[in-house]
Symmetry: C2
Subunit: 356 residues, 2 copies
């Protein structure tokens, strides 16, 4: 069974022994604090660490039990039912679900190789300015695309002009295997952007440790919402991660991940070129995914059972689109959990069930 | 400064070394599972453990990041804005806040020494049957009262007859220092009751580890809601607690807690009798609190600044009542974090600023 479904890290990258040592040290030194009730925004040394890392004040950071949860809190504190929300199309299926669940009018803006289509964005903006725009600018899920500098600047400009909030979700930003980083949208409109990040892709997803930084007034509302929801997010794992960071283990681990994932991405792009010459896909420089639009004549209805029969699992591409039919020929291919050889074999098998 | 505010365990009871060993063992043996994405309802061995402990099926249990959060999920999946919700009056201030935040019409039912006043309950029931009734039947927060067997049976009977959901919040149930346990409400109406519990009072609050068990259809909806909110609750701490339980450390620790808290409760009741002869309060047999109604002539407005000046902190009793004015003479006195000597001194100081 070749699994081409979820974007999960391979389990062998989890630094288990380092995390055991970090947990032991933090519990022994500060156990009375991390095991006691601790109000949001989170374990203070970790809040300070993240504030310093992202060059913001301490009261501009809030931790949560996953960044997805923090996205929900933003919808709960910043929006009312009936407000408009923009999202890239396609986008992270769980973000689509959350925004729809919030009662928002969710508008999908078509995604191109260098970010959303600005003409459509502007047209929709003039029709109904949104309360918020959810975007994954670096190595987008599910496409793998990175929003260009010019598009980031324009989005920031509109955010100020039309007074909407940009939710810049950046869990993959540090997982860059080629090229150089593009400045964040936040850097062009710090009062109109909140940035979400997490340790799910750079350390371990089971920690469910997300965080958000941005304007003080929004962070304050999210913090108060957390206190009313669960008093504070889970703390012993925050102590553990803080100790892991303090020991300087994060950067070498990140480098190890990039070195491991780089040839996997390269192999996927090579084999796509070789086996699916008529498919359309971007050339990501990092992250977890390459989004592939198959040639006409393909459809999920036929593809999914054929894939199952051929011994592998695919993600239904329709889940990434607000209008599911738009994803009928769309495949999100995750590459981090497969070796180059497994990727080559998977693409070779895939080619046999695709209409070229 | 004598702190008579929050109901927190004393930090010296946290079994730090046992938790370090449990975490190390679980991470080493099952780290690849607890550090990976794991969908709700939670870490399977812990789900199974809790199902067995509470004599339900595995698919009748869901874990969450605190039981307060699970209460919120129940309001989100089981209620619509405008539905009626009943709650004891007074009750846990955070539960009041959550129910109000859900958009429910929240109705407080006066609490007596043996549980809610059934006449008022029935009258309100006939006016507007609620969607749910939130109750802390064992060693109630903030009162310390335990709902009698007869009242439990009647509540269960009405839940079936009027088809509402009882949320039986039982975080203190195992912390009984005198007398014998009363059967749960769930035992009389298993299809109409969900039970909330947590490890905050019996192990450590910083874990934010709550769980819920009850009818399969509700547990299924909560589980799906969790998947859409954060995929799964924080897992490494669940692995740690599972290992701690498996090693048989929970029961001796619980006994140690009861032995520590029993003389503290006894001292509080003695000194209340001695120093506040005209106050009205129940005689709890367990838990964290004794709820005290001061004689007429007292009011929060005067009491809080006087307490601050006398060197101690009190909780504003008005927060426990839906109609804040009802709590104007109400004090919740937490006793677990203070030694008998500290309790005696605190009551002695308190008596000087009370109108008798």
């Amino acid at each position: 069974m070749i699994n081409l479904t979820r974007g999960v890290p391979p389990v062998e990258v989890f630094p288990i022994e380092d995390l055991i040592r970090a947990s032991e040290k933090n519990l022994r030194e500060d156990g009375k604090r991390v095991l006691q009730y601790l109000h949001a925004p989170g374990y203070p040394p970790l809040v300070e660490y993240l504030a310093k890392k992202h060059e913001v004040d301490n009261d501009q950071v809030v931790l949560g039990n996953s960044s997805l949860e923090l996205l929900q809190f933003v919808t709960l504190t910043e929006m009312k039912a009936g407000d408009y929300a923009f999202i890239e199309s396609p986008s992270y299926d769980r973000a689509n679900t959350l925004l729809k669940r919030s009662g928002a009018n969710v508008v999908g803006i078509p995604l191109e190789t260098d970010g959303v289509n600005l003409d459509v964005f502007e047209k929709e903006l003039k029709k109904n300015a949104p309360k918020l725009f959810y975007i994954i600018p670096d190595f987008q899920n599910p496409m793998g695309t990175t929003t260009s500098l010019e598009k980031r600047k324009q989005i920031a400009k509109w955010a100020v002009e039309y007074n909407f909030l940009v939710i810049e979700d950046a869990p993959y930003r540090e997982l860059r295997y080629h090229g150089t980083a593009v400045p964040s949208i936040r850097s062009f409109a710090p009062d109109h952007v909140v940035t979400l990040s997490s340790f799910s892709k750079t350390l371990a997803p089971g920690l469910r440790m997300g965080y958000m930084y941005g304007p003080k007034d929004i962070i304050k509302r999210i913090t108060a919402w957390e206190v009313d929801t669960y008093i504070g997010s889970v703390t012993p794992t925050q102590g553990q991660v803080f100790e892991y960071l303090k020991q300087g283990s994060f950067e070498p681990n990140l480098k190890k991940l990039c070195d491991l994932y780089r040839p996997r991405l390269d192999t996927l792009l090579e084999t796509l070129n070789e086996y699916l010459p008529n498919a359309v896909y971007p050339r990501p420089e990092g992250g977890f995914f390459v989004g592939v639009t198959l040639p006409e004549g393909n459809s999920m209805e036929k593809l999914l059972p054929a894939a199952a029969e051929a011994g592998f699992k695919l993600t239904d591409g329709r889940g990434f689109y607000l209008n599911p039919q738009d994803g009928d020929r769309f495949l999100r291919i995750p590459f981090c959990s497969l070796t180059p050889e497994e990727i080559r074999n998977a693409m070779q098998s895939l080619t046999k069930i695709i209409v070229h």
